[in-house]
């Protein structure tokens, strides 16, 4: 066999490298999956559920009045001190679709998709600061060192595409507070690390050959390296040397497949238009393309949703940035018949208070915004076996406390895993004396009410 043909052959003989690392002896997925991929949209900073999804007309009566004691007494907030005032939503709400779900005017495009969306109105978390809450949303725990949900899915399922990593991340705007820890593999092997597709520079770190090097040269180098590694295997019978060969082949293929994938020009104009012409829109389109190619877990981070002040102006601006893109994504997936097998999750690390915040973090007066709220917020899901046009749980009239069916973050995780055909109890990894799980040690509940 000459070396050039070996490049091809060895890939086939060793096979895909992005394999699940979960213990063999189990067949995975555990049962027939509803969803093949997850597109997770994280609005970093936490948009106000009360101004987008969770309609609370009662707040109109309270607007500008002192909050009732039970909403602040003995409570701690990130910024609110003293006796806060209540704030009605400055946005109009309307019922949409056949299901008649309420949506705010700030999301006119997404409003058209309500019949595909299921709103979980009663998620709550323990942290009211961004970074720890983001970590909790991603890893189940409020501290560093644990694998992100995408890493867990990769650990459980591996990739459907031997040329692409199973877990891809894209960031528009500033990087989230907790940084790359949010797509870190924690104690899992680094093959499960989320790979960031970057918007400037190399789409994947170290993807491009050194400046001025020809592709044929790189190809030759890879087959040279493989040839020597094959000699190494011949002498040592060290299987790692073979894996190394397959990884160099995969790296080489990624050098072509990733730029091809990130080049959106191959999409027809009418499709590109559906998503709108901004970075987040491009990421949404990219996400669809990745899902199409079999990437398991795609996460988009979009920053600057931390509206402590002037929510009336700043929230619509942000909504404008994502409204068309997300609606475009849902509609495009649907028209391709992909929505059924692609689970789209929209989430933030927490929600925002029904009380207004009139003083900024620097102690200056400002137009009203809302503070961080951990006790009840909304996450929605669509596609991937989700029953559209539904909602789960209820908050009280003020939108402050949960009135019915509290949802833990681990319930959200368990539901996502369930849709991927994974039993959350069985996706584990032994570390620190425990069978570690994304859902932690406590029992989680799959949200059957929103499943089709």
């Amino acid at each position: 066999m000459n070396r050039r043909s070996f490049l091809k052959a060895s890939a086939a003989s060793v096979g895909s490298s992005f394999l699940p690392s979960i213990l063999s002896g189990q067949s995975l997925p555990h049962f027939a999956p509803k969803a093949k991929s997850v597109i997770f949209l994280h609005m970093v900073g936490a948009p106000s559920q009360l101004d987008l999804f969770d309609y609370k007309p009662e707040l109109n009566k309270w607007n500008g009045k002192d909050a009732p004691e039970e909403l602040y007494k003995g409570k701690k907030f990130a910024f609110i001190t003293g006796v806060p005032k209540m704030m009605a939503s400055p946005f109009k709400f309307q019922q949409h679709g056949e299901s008649g779900q309420w949506m705010s005017e700030a999301l006119p495009n997404l409003s058209k998709c309500v019949d595909d969306m299921a709103f979980i109105r009663t998620v709550h978390t323990k942290e009211f600061n961004h970074a720890p809450a983001q970590l909790a949303l991603h890893t189940g725990l409020n501290r560093q060192g644990n694998p992100s949900m995408g890493s867990w899915m990769s650990h459980g399922l591996g990739s459907n595409n031997k040329n692409l990593p199973p877990y891809v991340v894209m960031v528009s705007g500033g990087v989230p507070g907790a940084g790359a820890q949010l797509w870190n593999n924690g104690f899992l092997p680094s093959v499960h690390q989320g790979v960031e597709f970057r918007s400037s520079g190399d789409p994947v770190l170290f993807l491009s050959d050194p400046k001025g090097m020809g592709r044929q040269h790189r190809r030759d180098i890879v087959s040279d390296i493989n040839a020597l590694n094959r000699e190494s295997y011949r002498k040592t019978k060290d299987a790692e040397a073979l894996t190394r060969i397959s990884q160099y082949n995969l790296a080489y293929r990624m050098q072509d497949s990733v730029p091809e994938l990130t080049n959106l020009k191959s999409e027809p104009e009418h499709i590109r238009k559906m998503y709108g012409d901004n970075l987040f829109g491009k990421h949404c389109l990219q996400a669809r393309r990745l899902a199409e190619k079999g990437v398991r877990f795609i996460e988009l981070f979009n920053s600057s949703w931390d509206h402590h002040g002037s929510i009336e102006n700043s929230l619509p601006k942000k909504c404008k940035e994502v409204d068309q893109a997300i609606a475009g994504l849902l509609m495009d997936l649907k028209q391709r018949g992909m929505l059924e097998e692609t689970l789209v999750v929209w989430a933030a690390e927490f929600g925002r208070t029904p009380m207004l915040q009139g003083v900024s973090g620097d102690g200056k007066k400002q137009k009203p915004g809302r503070d961080h709220h951990k006790d009840a917020f909304t996450i929605w899901m669509a596609g991937g076996g989700i029953k559209g046009g539904t909602s789960y749980g209820q908050t009280d009239d003020m939108g402050y406390y949960i009135a019915d069916k509290p949802t833990e973050i681990r319930d959200v995780h368990a539901t996502v895993m369930h849709q991927l055909g994974l039993n959350y109890r069985d996706v584990s990894y032994k570390y620190m004396g425990l069978d570690q799980r994304l859902t932690g040690v406590e029992e989680a509940h799959i949200l059957h009410d929103i499943l089709a």
Partner: protein, 793 residues
């Protein structure tokens, strides 16, 4: 009803309730299915005395003499439907009365003699130096390790491998002890004389080299979660490099491990602590700090203290102590009370952040205890220049404002100008103003004096004058305090040494006490794994019941006991590398690969892919670029742009270090928790936001991309290419190839490998792809990327 009551009264007149006869049967019939040995719902288990009295969530289950204070009783009689137990329906009235009476009489529950015996896990038993086991091949063992290994190997029906080739062995021991490749001269001289004696001399030399401390520091710094930033949203910088340097020096000086532990845990509490002993306490200050505006600083403080307890548990007790934060440990004997009693030792340092004063809103400021070291600098000059600088700036601003706004220097409308704005105006409008230029020059001078005399800062531990009260925190929540606890150690472990104070120093002395079975086992097991790729117990982070039992318990015991008799790290590591076990070849038979795939019997060596930092270090070494400069502030080798971009008021500029700092060893590379050095991350380096006990050794396409395309490796390949070309002792290309191959793999290429490399050279000669990526660059790149280069066999 009356009848029942009567019955009871009469019963009690006959004497006390008998636990075995009256109570235990009720528990077994009605309770232990959910609250027993198999399941312990809500953390409660009633199958044993110890469990029942351990107050699993900080609430008293059984208060002898006081039924009303006993949660168990209250649950039996409550009228709240959601609360009462058992959930399927209340106990019979007479049963409830029996239990009430039993508690009133003192809840006497006789101790089960077997309870402790059966529950004591292997790691909690005393370490002892077992006598050496018998082996049939008496000629093989070189030291004690080999007896234990061979004994088991023979029983399993395996034979040890021959010793590795001299070149493999010398490379192995170089990499394991110093993280460096041997030079060609060293390889060749060892090949000429591969005697035990010569090997031992080499080992002694390596243990004495400063590379040793730099290499082994990485392992410790993972455990100590040492990083140069706070973590979380702000992720601001804190270059506490004196601590890293302290670790390197301690390793190189072979500071005894007991002292190593005492100084890091409680250096500040030693009598008249030296500067170094204070620096050592940074170990506990490496916790993350949340500086995000609006952070609940009290919550963050408690998180930090808990993290210190958890790290102590992991590193020094080999225990997943953190499990006992919210409830009794489900598998190991740590109770929630034990956890918070440990916490009580750590709970007496000042809070490290505070929220801004009025006018500063909810911004968080760092107020932690720092050691400011002015040695070799002048604190007076520093203070003086700081004052000068601020006075000069005032003058400068006034002057610029005057120029801008007329004589009075004040504008009615505009806000007062700030320094940066003034400098801009100066540059744009008054470039030639002599007065401004003069002030600028003076300012520059003052700044230079300041930076020359700025103190070196380390975060250190300092006990508050008045210790804090520590309470059990129910469900681990700081807002939910339960019973008060004191600084004590768990009953099932050894006692505090006589005369040890009830503070961190006492705790440290307790940890290194000869009676402690855990500390030595944990550390010896971790070091073993550095050489063999796995621990004697493979769960390095947990030697508890949920961890894996050791494959060679007697050996682990022997090593632990031996280590405790001298506490010298170098002595122990030398013992390991001098063993025949260590020196075996890694190449083995198909039989062993099939029948002992994970090498449980140590009947061969295990090839190990090098760590991310070591890969970069050795590639810089073969390329001739490596700087051997030691110590000092963190350095910034090249990394792709845009890797640092956290939000918040923190500087994201990454200015690549110049001069030799660009080529320093990985141990000196800046470690930012939100985005740690990407090439290390791709080779499994943890972000160090938490204590990391073991690094996995994955094999990924990202690693291939890193070694082929990272600027660091491309630059190294270019330098390596030059080094090969300029190698004057070689006359032919074959000799050059041989030289380069030996530099990177420490062995001679065989004929086939030589053929491949010659083919590459010929092909590249023909292709002629330009100067930058010429034939020797291609050869150098291929060699750097070879699996054998980044692996030690």
């Amino acid at each position: 009803m009356r009848y029942i009551l009567f019955l009871f009264l009469s019963y009690s007149t006959y004497g006390a309730v008998d636990f075995e006869k009256d109570i235990k049967p009720i528990f077994e019939a009605k309770c232990t299915k959910c609250h027993g040995a198999k399941k312990d719902k809500g953390g409660l288990a009633l199958h044993s005395r110890r469990h029942a009295f351990s107050d699993p969530n900080g609430e008293v289950i059984l208060a002898p003499g006081k039924p009303e204070d006993s949660l168990l009783y209250r649950k039996l009689v409550t009228e709240d439907e959601d609360e009462y137990m058992p959930p399927k329906g209340p106990l019979a009235k007479e049963q409830i009365e029996l239990i009430k009476q039993w508690i009133s009489e003192g809840a006497h529950w006789p101790e089960d003699e077997n309870e402790h015996k059966t529950e004591l896990n292997w790691s909690l038993k005393p370490t002892k130096k077992n006598s050496l086991p018998k082996v049939s091949d008496q000629s093989w063992p070189a030291n004690e390790i080999d007896y234990f290994i061979l004994n088991k190997m023979e029983k399993a029906g395996f034979k040890p491998e021959e010793s590795a080739d001299p070149e493999t062995l010398i490379r192995r021991v170089y990499l394991d002890l110093t993280g460096q490749f041997p030079s060609i001269t060293e390889i060749e001289s060892f090949k000429k004389n591969p005697s035990v004696n010569n090997f031992e001399k080499t080992v002694d030399r390596l243990l004495k080299s400063t590379d040793f401390g730099e290499h082994w520091a990485t392992h410790w710094l993972d455990l100590a979660r040492f990083a140069h930033s706070d973590g979380y949203q702000r992720d601001g910088f804190k270059d506490v490099y004196p601590y890293r340097d302290w670790v390197i020096k301690a390793l190189n000086n072979d500071k005894t491990y007991d002292q190593f532990v005492i100084e890091q845990l409680a250096g500040d509490l030693l009598p008249n602590p030296s500067k170094d002993q204070l620096i050592a306490t940074c170990f506990n200050r490496n916790t993350t700090v949340n500086m995000e505006a609006g952070t609940d600083v009290k919550h963050d403080r408690v998180k930090q203290v808990m993290e210190r307890v958890d790290v102590m548990g992991t590193v020094f007790l080999g225990s997943s102590l953190g499990c006992a934060q919210c409830h009794n440990h489900k598998y190991d004997p740590y109770s929630i009370k034990d956890y918070y009693s440990f916490m009580s030792f750590f709970n007496n340092t000042n809070i490290e952040t505070r929220m801004g004063n009025k006018g500063k809103g909810r911004t968080i400021f760092y107020v932690g205890e720092d050691l400011k070291d002015f040695s070799g600098k002048s604190s007076e000059l520093y203070q003086k220049s700081l004052k000068e600088k601020s006075a000069l700036e005032k003058k400068y601003i006034a002057k610029v404002s005057k120029l801008e706004n007329g004589e009075k220097g004040k504008s009615k409308k505009k806000k007062p100008l700030k320094m940066k704005a003034c400098e801009k105006i100066h540059r744009e409008k008054y470039k030639k103003n002599p007065e401004l230029n003069g002030m600028m020059a003076e300012l520059k001078k003052a700044k230079q004096v300041i930076s020359r005399n700025a103190p070196v800062v380390t975060r250190v531990m300092k006990e508050m004058a008045q210790p804090r009260d520590t309470h059990i925190l129910l469900r681990g929540e700081h807002t939910n305090p339960g019973k008060k606890v004191s600084a004590t150690v768990p009953e099932f472990l050894h006692d505090m040494p006589k005369g040890a104070p009830s503070n961190r120093l006492g705790l440290a002395q307790w940890l290194v006490d000869q009676e402690n079975p855990l500390l030595a086992r944990a550390v010896v097991n971790r070091w073993w794994a550095e050489f063999f790729g796995r621990g004697l117990s493979v769960t390095l982070e947990d030697l508890g019941k949920q961890g894996e039992a050791p494959t060679h318990p007697e050996l682990l015991d022997w090593l632990a006991a031996d280590f405790k008799s001298h506490w010298s790290r170098k002595t122990l590591l030398k013992k390991i590398v001098m063993s025949k076990t260590y020196q075996q070849a890694s190449i083995t038979s198909q039989d062993k690969l099939v029948n002992d795939p994970s090498n449980d019997n140590y009947s061969r060596a295990t090839p190990l892919r090098l760590k991310g930092e070591t890969i970069r270090d050795v590639v810089l070494q073969v390329s001739g670029l490596l700087s051997k400069k030691m110590y000092g502030p963190a350095v910034k080798p090249p990394q792709p742009t845009g890797v640092w971009r956290v939000i918040g008021r923190v500087d994201n500029t990454y200015e690549v270090s110049s001069g030799e700092d660009r080529y320093r060893k990985g141990v000196y590379t800046i470690w930012r928790r939100s985005a740690h050095y990407p090439s290390f991350a791709n080779f499994d380096a943890p972000d160090r936001g938490a204590c990391a006990v073991r690094r996995t050794r994955s094999n990924t396409p990202m690693q291939a991309l890193t070694l082929m395309n990272d600027e660091v490796y491309v630059e190294a390949a270019q330098a390596f290419a030059k080094r090969i070309q300029n190698y004057s002792q070689a006359k032919t290309n074959v000799e050059k190839i041989r030289y380069a191959f030996m530099l990177s793999t420490s062995r001679e290429p065989d004929a086939r490998e030589m053929r491949i490399l010659q083919d590459i050279l010929e092909r590249e000669q023909k292709e002629n792809r330009g100067k930058k990526y010429d034939k020797w660059f291609t050869v150098a790149t291929v060699l750097i990327n070879m699996h054998d280069t980044i692996t030690r066999r």
